[in-house]
Symmetry: C2
Subunit: 132 residues, 2 copies
Amino acid sequence: MARHKTGNNVIDKWRELLRRHATVSCALDRELGERHGLGVSEFEVLDHLAEGLSTDAGGKEKFRVQELADEVHLSQSALSRLIARLEREGLVTRAMCEADRRGVFVLLTDEGRKRHAEAAPTHLAVLTAHLG
Amino acid sequence: MARHKTGNNVIDKWRELLRRHATVSCALDRELGERHGLGVSEFEVLDHLAEGLSTDAGGKEKFRVQELADEVHLSQSALSRLIARLEREGLVTRAMCEADRRGVFVLLTDEGRKRHAEAAPTHLAVLTAHLG
DNA sequence: AGACATTACATGCACCTGCATTCAATGCAC
DNA sequence: GTGCATTGAATGCAGGTGCATGTAATGTCT
């Protein structure tokens, strides 16, 4: 009886999950990095921002830092620095939130929208190749 | 038409994969860390070593570093350091490989086997709770 | 044997991450 | 309004990761 490969217990499920995650995120990181100078998390953030923009009904154009952190599964501190990197590259801008001046809105710049539009096909292609 | 949640394209698949990975590995890291002083990768390595040991037919008791790296999806350098940490804690030992003296065998110590045995139930419980 | 490529692992380095802390702005009770 | 807990985000710090490189041992070709 084969001990390895396809089992049906949770451990095998977990290992398969780990394997897929490692494979895909590794490939994504390589492609996005080489071709567009973006990491996986960076793209994910741009993507959420762009998605918000494109959604006309109920769509948002600005997001709070914590809000984005939840969506991309990063700690608040990691996101704060990620935003700082994106800002340094001119892809997003931080804006004061008038209603609650503790808050900071993150906005896509035109350059950011452009980079996201360029990278999105690569992103989709890699995912299709691995999860299609 | 709902824009969020259950779609059937690769992007939704990928996000779901990211979500599950983040949730489970986060929970695992917390439980294994608090209760047994181990990280996810550390446990994974101990687990592979213990699994090799327990398999009598064709089972191996010692592994090369690169061999383990493939299984736990870590770079060779990361694994080298991880082994160093485990060795510092007395859970594994490095042994010279006589046949090829460039190689290094990694072996579970009794203490390592003990820690793994203690942590395995926690590991399984967390996985069952999240993937059951 | 001698020169060069390859392999296995270790290490310097830059960078990213999370935790704990800090700082400012709010909210709340009284 | 004053005092105190809470919240949103930034930052010091410790630690983990990959890439490029270093070192030693093997393999190969002549």
